[in-house]
């Protein structure tokens, strides 16, 4: 079976529009997220989070749980539904001098809901110091990844391509993050900013560059093979040649990730969803951000007419 055979789509002609659109979406996204604020998980702000399941004859509402907590003097609690109905995540901030034990919370809830059986699903307690540490480590991890990957690509290809790859990466990371925040706000999937989300972002970064590398590799091959082909045509050729593989890989990955998002349970859901978005944008950005960036740089900064110049002529001029 073969879907894409000998395609000759002119990808790069529309590149300016897409590039522009990407920039705008990114900026808008960042603004929206900045204005809304981030919903940090306790991994990064510290606190106590208790997951409780109610099994009884009647359904339990979030409001009832909150009232019960307030009355038991556990003030400042945040209640979220978790997974199926009748499963709740109760979050309490770290207060100086107060030490919330899960047994104390369970006791109060048992008293408040005598007709329900309570099961403790999980407890997470992060001290404020550890929370702050994880946060700073998260930023470090992101920064380090960007740097290392850029260096590696620059080393394997050329510095310009390294730059292009990074721009695509940052674009993917921002988009994946922004989409995650918005979906979280809509309450569909629990996507608070915690370690899981960080792991997903880092993986997105790792895999997103995967696609970009495939195209760059083809460009690297083609520019030797078709030394005198105009640059734009050569890049288009490279993209078309790798199209079949790109589509297939993205499809298998997307398939796998959709399955996990739907069937994998709460813990894996958020993770898989972020990766899903990252993969799709990753494929898109390899064409319309990474390659487009390289083209843009050669065109606007170095002022080559890429419809005429070929790789051979460009390198000759660069050496001169």
């Amino acid at each position: 079976m073969q879907f894409f055979h000998d395609t000759k789509i002119d990808f790069l002609s529309k590149r300016r529009i897409f590039f522009f659109a990407s920039i705008i979406i990114n900026i808008v996204g960042i603004l929206v997220v900045a204005l809304k604020g981030l919903d940090y998980g306790i991994d990064f702000v510290g606190g106590t989070e208790v997951g409780i399941k109610f099994s009884g004859s009647s359904a339990v509402q979030t409001e009832e749980v909150r009232k019960a907590m307030d009355e038991a003097k556990f003030s400042g609690s945040e209640i979220k539904s978790y997974g199926k109905s009748d499963e709740f995540l109760i979050r309490l901030p770290n207060l100086v001098g107060k030490d919330y034990s899960s047994s104390a919370i369970m006791e109060s809830l048992k008293k408040a809901f005598p007709n329900q059986t309570l099961t403790l699903l999980k407890v997470d307690k992060i001290g404020p110091k550890v929370g702050a540490e994880l946060r700073s480590k998260a930023f470090m991890a992101l920064g380090l990844s960007f740097l290392m990957i850029m260096l590696y690509i620059a080393f394997r290809f050329e510095f310009l391509y390294g730059l292009g790859a990074i721009v695509a990466l940052v674009h993917d990371a921002i988009l994946a993050f922004v989409v995650a925040v918005m979906v979280h706000d809509l309450g569909i999937i629990n996507l608070e900013v915690n370690q899981s989300m960080l792991a997903a972002m880092l993986t997105v970064i790792g895999f997103s560059v995967h696609d970009t590398v495939i195209i760059f590799d083809r460009i690297r091959e083609n520019r030797e093979k078709h030394k005198n082909m105009p640059f734009i045509d050569m890049v288009n050729l490279s993209i078309n040649e790798t199209l079949s593989r790109t589509i297939n890989t993205v499809m298998t990955a997307v398939l796998v990730l959709i399955v996990i998002t739907v069937f994998g349970g709460e813990v894996l859901q958020g993770f898989a969803f972020v990766m899903l978005v990252g993969f799709v944008t990753g494929a898109y950005s390899s064409i319309y951000v990474a390659s487009a960036f390289v083209a843009w740089y050669l065109e606007s900064v170095k002022k080559y007419d890429l419809h005429v110049e070929s790789y051979a002529s460009i390198s000759a001029k660069a050496k001169a």
Binding site: K122, V130, Q195, V259
Partner: protein
């Protein structure tokens, strides 16, 4: 049929890894088999059969378990705890007690602030830097505070080295003590690891009593026997503290929260007694409390007696049947004799804060200490009021916990209350006999972690080396006490900074969902590959199967743990492994399309695809490594499976798949169904 040398090599490449994987996975398989059998016996409650089984298979089971793949906490349920040693406290306690002054405390405080804000920095350098900045300009040297031990070398370097050694030893000792405690608590397959310079990471699978674990791990368990001295000396010291704080304008009323019934009763009683005694005292003196409302009286009382207004002092006159007389700290005249002090729950924190002040410590001196009881007075507690006792004791302990050779939690035969009986070693017994002999009819306080558990009166000399700690509310509490006493005291106090509890039901749920989604994903991918790439797709699927098996085997070899994110990592690796094959197949198809022979196309395909495969996998590896170093717990599990997965994928995707093709080619095939359009089958 003769196997050519090259072909044999190729078959080996396929067979050997599979064999190795099988070998590595065997322990996991065998262990789970034996576990199942054992579980049956446990369920059947067949004691004799169980004992026989353990005797015969116990060793095998244990050894196999060690080499098995373990399930992470998030799959099995359990508790994950990060303990941090309070090195600053350790430094404080390493210093000579009477040398501690404001400057030293200030240095420590500054160090604590910096260390708390930052990460896992080494504490000692920060402390030394602050010492240089704060203490040295005031003329202090390190040996002003830290004694150099038996070594006559008072040089700063020697002291620093000694401190360093103390700190490292304390943390290593903490790990040992924690290990002992957990062993005795009875959890199997725990992991205890040092993290950074002063953290300990502990995994307790299958445990979910969070409160007990906290108790077990955070108790320092420092046991001391101290002589009680509730005498006039202590009272005079309290008076001096009052004066000191009054002069400095320290407010005791800031401590009490809202209306504390006992506190206000205490102060009102004291205030009215003050009024009474003030009236009965020198009549020429004006009554300072005259004309004030009750509230105003209370406020003035707190201001006049900033320290002593927090508790109630009684003088116990000698002789039978005498009533205790409340004591007012108006004048520094206190009769010799026995006193007692009661403090309400709400004032305890402020009391301890005040006692921690450097100026107060100077007044207290080094001979005496004021320690609060561990449990509230049961009589008042039944009436809903929490009242604790304060004990004046000799600061230097007569005996410490290292003489305890054994401890047993049991029930007191006289009142059926839970308690812990302690046995001492030979030295301890001799000392204990001497101490009790010298203090008949006097009280000895049993102090655990700076709280008095009990202060019994010595009736006669105790020669058997026995003593007991009463006051545990439940037998479980007594058992925890028993464990920490047996395992020994921590040199450096520890604090829990991170804690995750996974309930067993969530664990099972997660496993189920993880496996189901994994299976569905795998199925879909397998189908897709066959559909799109025909026979080659089948080969790819086989390679991926080998891939996953080897990854799990490698994990088992390292006795690694499989976590839920780890399963996600595996599923992802599935996708990436498939991608590697897709890259190669697309390339082969392309070469066939350009008219190459099958052999040449295969060669070209693998060769050309190699670069791209290498680059993209290395970049993913980079992010995996970063995640590993900067992540904790389950995230690490993900990073590990990801990185192992990439390495193995490189192997199966390139080497193994190629070998499959080579084997097929060696049989003389010239065409191959890679799913390409019919016209191109060369």
């Amino acid at each position: 049929m003769t196997l050519k040398k090259g072909l044999l090599g190729k078959w080996l490449i396929i067979v050997l890894p599979l064999l190795a994987a099988g070998l590595l996975l065997f322990p996991t398989f065998r262990a789970s088999q034996l576990e199942k059998q054992r579980l049956e016996l446990v369920k059947a409650k067949n004691e004799t059969a169980l004992a026989a089984f353990d005797k015969e298979n116990g060793e095998t089971l244990r050894k196999n378990k060690e080499q098995s793949l373990k399930l992470g906490l998030d799959l099995r349920g359990g508790i994950y705890v990060t303990l941090e040693a309070d090195v600053i406290r350790l430094l404080e306690e390493s210093a000579m007690r009477d040398a501690v002054d404001d400057v030293f405390l200030e240095t420590l405080e500054k160090t604590r602030q910096q260390v708390d804000a930052g990460g896992d920095d080494d504490v000692l350098p920060v402390f030394l830097k602050n010492f240089d900045a704060i203490a040295r300009p005031k003329g202090r040297k390190l040996f002003s505070y830290f004694d150099a031990g038996s070594n006559r070398d008072l040089s700063e370097d020697a002291i620093v080295k000694r401190l360093e050694r103390n700190i490292n030893e304390a943390i290593d000792q903490a790990i040992e003590v924690v290990r002992q405690r957990i062993d005795k608590y009875g959890v199997a397959e725990t992991t205890i690891q040092k993290q950074g310079t002063r953290r300990i990471v502990i995994e307790l699978p299958g445990v979910n009593n969070e409160a007990e674990v906290r108790s077990l791990l955070q108790t320092t368990a420092r046991l001391e026997f101290k002589l009680v001295r509730n005498n006039a000396q202590i009272v005079r010291t309290f008076y001096a503290i009052d004066q000191l704080l009054k002069n400095k304008g320290v407010d005791a009323s800031a401590s009490t929260t809202a209306t504390a019934a006992t506190a206000s009763t205490a102060t009102t009683t004291a205030a009215s007694t003050a009024t009474a005694s003030a009236g009965s005292a020198d009549s020429a003196k004006k009554d300072p409390y005259a004309g004030l409302t009750d509230d105003q009286k209370r406020e003035k009382f707190k201001k006049d007696y900033p320290f002593t207004s927090m508790f109630v002092t009684y003088f116990n006159p000698p002789g039978e049947g005498q009533q205790p007389i409340p004591v007012i700290y108006e004048k520094n005249e206190f009769p010799e004799g026995d006193y007692s002090f009661q403090i309400p729950d709400e004032s305890v924190q402020k009391f301890e804060e005040i006692m921690a002040r450097a100026d107060v410590r100077r007044i207290m001196g080094t001979e005496y200490q004021a320690i609060i009881s561990a449990k509230p007075e049961p009589f008042f507690e039944r009436q809903g009021v929490k009242l604790y006792y304060i004990y004046g004791v000799l600061a230097k302990p007569e005996l410490t916990g290292d003489v305890i050779s054994d401890a047993t939690a049991t029930f007191d035969p006289t009142n059926n209350a839970p308690m812990v009986m302690m046995d001492m070693n030979a030295d301890g017994s001799a000392s204990w006999a001497r101490i009790t002999g010298a203090n008949i009819k006097k009280r000895i306080a049993i102090v655990l972690d700076d709280r008095v558990y009990s202060a019994p009166t010595v009736q006669n000399k105790i020669t058997g080396g026995r003593s007991q700690i009463t006051g545990s509310s439940t037998i479980d509490e007594a058992r925890l006490l028993e464990i920490v006493l047996k395992a020994g005291a921590l040199k450096a106090p520890v604090k829990i900074v991170e804690e995750r509890v996974i309930g067993p039901s969530l664990g099972e749920d997660s496993i189920r969902k993880g496996i189901i989604s994994g299976a569905i994903a795998a199925l879909l991918v397998v189908l897709f590959m066959i559909l799109y790439y025909a026979t080659a797709g089948v080969l790819a699927d086989l390679a991926v199967l080998v891939n996953i098996t080897i990854i799990i085997a490698v994990l088992a070899a390292f006795a690694g743990t499989l976590t839920l994110p780890g399963i996600a990592g595996l599923i992802l690796t599935l996708g990436m492994a498939v991608d590697t094959n897709i890259l190669v197949f697309e390339r082969i198809r392309e070469e066939l399309h350009h008219g190459r022979s099958l052999r040449a196309a295969v060669d070209e395909g693998f060769k050309r695809a190699f670069n791209a495969i290498l680059d993209s996998n290395i970049t993913t590896m980079i992010t995996g490594a970063i995640l590993y170093y900067l992540g904790t717990g389950p995230i690490r599990g993900f990073a590990v499976t990801l990185m192992i997965g990439i390495v193995i994928t490189l192997f199966t995707g390139i080497t193994l798949s190629k070998v499959f093709f080579e084997l097929i080619l060696s049989r003389g095939a010239t065409t191959f169904n890679l799913g390409q359009p019919a016209s191109e089958k060369a």
